[in-house]
């Protein structure tokens, strides 16, 4: 089976009832990013929409990075979580590209939790700034240590104020 689904445009997507919809969104709150377990995929802004297709539940996700190795894990977690909360196994999780995932999709709660976890949230701006404030001391005196970090979505910075290296999410 393909990881991506491109055929939704020809499909007739329908709405789910309000209570089913609320339960699915609730279930998605409990699916965490395996590399940042403090933050849910909903808080990361990865959920594009939840709808119905041919009577089945359809969860559309936006990958943060195309080559993110966590995607298959996330897909299985969503299937498991929805099955557990709703008692239904007719759920299809598809990764879509109708719009690109961007840093601006991270919710305020997601930003707060990233900070608590010690990862600087991405700079969201119109210019090309990359360096976020330090998540430990808040100083804006960081420099790039490595544009590439432990996962595709993270970079490594160094804070000249508190003399700590720190991780931050790349603006995308």
């Amino acid at each position: 089976m393909n990881r991506w689904n491109m055929e939704a445009n020809e499909m007739s997507l329908a709405s789910l009832s309000d209570d089913v919809l609320a339960s699915v969104w609730g279930a998605l709150d409990d699916v965490k990013d395996p590399e940042i377990p403090a933050v849910s995929i909903r808080e990361l802004g990865m959920v594009r929409q939840v709808c119905a297709l041919d009577g089945r539940i359809r969860v559309e996700l936006l990958p943060t990075f195309v080559g993110c190795p966590a995607l298959d894990w996330i897909r299985r977690s969503v299937e498991r979580q929805v099955a557990q909360v709703l008692g239904r196994d007719d759920v299809d999780v598809v990764f879509v590209f109708d719009e690109p995932w961007t840093s601006a999709r991270i919710t305020p709660q997601g930003i707060e939790k990233l900070l608590q976890f010690g990862i600087a949230p991405p700079v969201v701006s119109n210019d090309s700034r990359l360096i976020p404030p330090c998540p430990y001391c808040g100083a804006e005196s960081g420099e790039v240590e490595n544009l590439f970090g432990p996962t595709p979505c993270r970079a490594i910075f160094y804070c000249h104020h508190c003399k700590q290296p720190f991780e931050g999410m790349k603006p995308l």
């Binding site: 393909n2 491109m6 990958p63 990075f65």
Partner: protein, 263 residues
Amino acid sequence: MAVHTAAVELSIEHREALVDFLRQLADDELTLGHRDSEWLGFAPDVEEDVAFSSIAQDEVGHAVYYLDRLAELGEGAADVLAFQRDGGARRNANLVERVNGDWAYTILRHFCYDVFDTLRLRALTDSSFKPLAQGAEKMLREERYHLLHMESWVKHLGRAGGEARERLQAAVEAVWRDLGDLFSLGAHAEVLVRERLMPVPPEELLASWVDRVGPVLTEAGLSWPGAPTLTTEAGRVGVHGPELQTLLDTMRAVYHLNPETRW
């Protein structure tokens, strides 16, 4: 002009051209991604081990995106396409199959490719094949980081002077010998451009590439060898150097132990 959202809408002529082009895209990314991964444990410092591994992961991920589109067109599963096709069926440019050589060559080759890939992706955001337009929009944002990284290395090595700049200048000469087919759209170029599957023709892409690369080489104190000459031969029509076979032997060694294994 039609916007193609699915394979069923394509004529046979368009389909053949699209399949060939998707192979060019997938094979460029997969081959260079494999070369990037070869630096793991051997890069000049641990930061570059991390950087090249991360870049490799991005490039291979992009290859999978294109291979999945081929699978949707009925060309076979992504793993089969990645591992079972022999050199003659591969459409990557010669540049990305060359062995890594020294650090200067690695950096300069990647910089030249990343500028090309960024321009190609930007063009593809207007592709009449919607999955390509959507994927390009996403990948473009990721490639920004590859380009930033390689450009800063080119400038660092160039400004360092001495052996670093000498090696970088030698890399320029070596990369230039392989630029001809990079811009080629292969056997179906005319259809690809006419149907706007790939809306920008090679000559135009090359001109933008020269405008972008020239000033960086100047800033790095390197001499400009002149605009590369385009060719429609070589990698885009399946003609490769012996390096590709060696690369494929390594890349497929585990796969061939048991192609049916589920990972």
